[in-house]
Amino acid sequence: MCVEFRTRHGVVRALEEVRFIVRRGETVGIVGESGSGKSVTAYALMGILDPAARVTDGRAVFGGLDLLHASRQELEAYRGRELAMIFQSPRTALNPIRTVGRQIEDVLLRHQTVPRAKVRDRVIELLTLVQIPDPERRARAYPFEMSGGMCQRVMIALAIAASPSLLVADEPTTGLDVTTQAAILDLLDELARTTGMATVLISHDLGLIAERCDRIVVMHAGHVVEEAPARAMFAGPRHPYTARLLASTPRVGAKLAELVPIPGGVPDLRAELPPCRYRARCERAVAECDEPPLPRTQVAPGHLVACRRPL
């Protein structure tokens, strides 16, 4: 998948050759710094990209439908029912002047997954499922009457209302407290396990991704630089960027001296870039890194690295 943004200051090649697969019931984590293209990937999948964006190439096949080239009607039929998304800021993603119960009802009625008479029961059932205490009372509450954690639970309830088979969670716990974060992610884990729903979890927090995901996709400046099973990635990252990212993440009980920053910043995506966009920051770069194409090497089963000189 390739996505470009046309801006006043030139074309931003936000995503280039991004490819990964998500299997049924699997949790895939996408991790990267800001500007790495994590959210753009999610938005492209959901068909809610900014009008300035243009998908220049690629496909995103989901249940036989190419999401990137589907018509609006097709996408609308899929969104909510088969595909759902959780946003970063639950407060702004909820309609402030409708009670949360009504908002969930809207989704249920829209997709007609339950008979009209059963809608209210289903709302309570969903709120119970996302572990909101006192669901009957909460269904009548407005978003502003709830804490951030509660709002995010409502968002999850909305997202899973129609039992989607793929849930895209874009930084679902950023801005929430650690204990709330743990509870929300536990909830997502459990939903994935019980309903067989696949999850794409997007985060900048490597620790969180590591703990929650089966497979990890590491992105840098619009490229997928490494894709591997979570354990393999942590045991031995093969791309220099992944290794650096791990070294710069504060771990439990780590000392400051163990924290190694990554030199440089994400390159300007408007400029002419070398095939490997990490080249300018990489300490292992050699002359042959400038020769296209960027390789995509399988170093172990299910472990792909986009680097000429993997670790």
Partner: protein, 327 residues
Amino acid sequence: MILDVRALTRRFPVRGGHGAVHAVDDVTFAIGHGESVGLVGESGCGKSTVVRLVTRLDDPTDGRIFFEGHDVGAIPAKRFARTAARGRIQMVFQDPADSLNPRFTAFDTIADPMRRLGESAMRARLRDRVHEVADLCGLPAELLGRYPHQLSGGQQQRVGIARAIALEPRLLVLDEPTSALDVSVQAVILHLLADLRQRLGMSYLFVSHDLNVVRMLTDRVLVMYLGRIVEQGPADVVFEQPAHPYTRALLSAVPADGGGPRSRICLTGEPRSPIDPSPTVCRFHGRCPEGFERCEREMPVLRAAGAGRDHEAACHLLDAPVGSAVS
């Protein structure tokens, strides 16, 4: 002691209603010369209010704040801006984009405290001093003419730090200084902060919700819950042998990367309301997995937690061993 806070209390009246939000309730702690103290807790626990009180941006309802032996808490926040102590307590903000005036260049931002509070000798060589401070914070001189929106997040935070240390403060309050930054940049800023403390001999009050980061940068930690300090002690002791159930829950919620399954303590229920809380009920009661009858009857106070020197926690469990919960 550089900072000695005693029985600090701040209540906010509830808008259009009765009662008051007890944002900070009877908080006592001290920071030694050159010491780095961490303040952790979840949103709404009152750590931001403590920060605003200690930095004298807000007036306490009750309690005293001694800074270098002077009772600065008694000076109204409005007048404090013109006292000599103003320059000696400085702060680094959470969101660098929000904390820099969009109409000020980096140079003007760093020079502002010197122009307002600096001695005449410092003002005379303002230019040199700004360059010196910027250099100390790893900010290239050519960026000094730029506006905040022309700088990256990491550079913005360097400007914020340079502004804070421009007057050579003795106490630097860091309010989640890296939570708005990417991990790769966070690492750089954390190193910079550790380095500056060593070079300039400042004391830190480091506020964060990221426990891993707090542990890296602090000697001692205070844990707050709903306006009260529930545990305090040397960072290693608190993190290795937490005595308060809340601290344990907090630590267990931190993602452990690839470390295999760990036992997580799940907090159930909603936190108690901060509006006029009962003075005789433990604030954590109701969410506490180990709460018992006494917690509803008596507010626990900080007491020695045994494990190490000056390790204290406010929990009745320290009196009554778990399982034998009798009054």
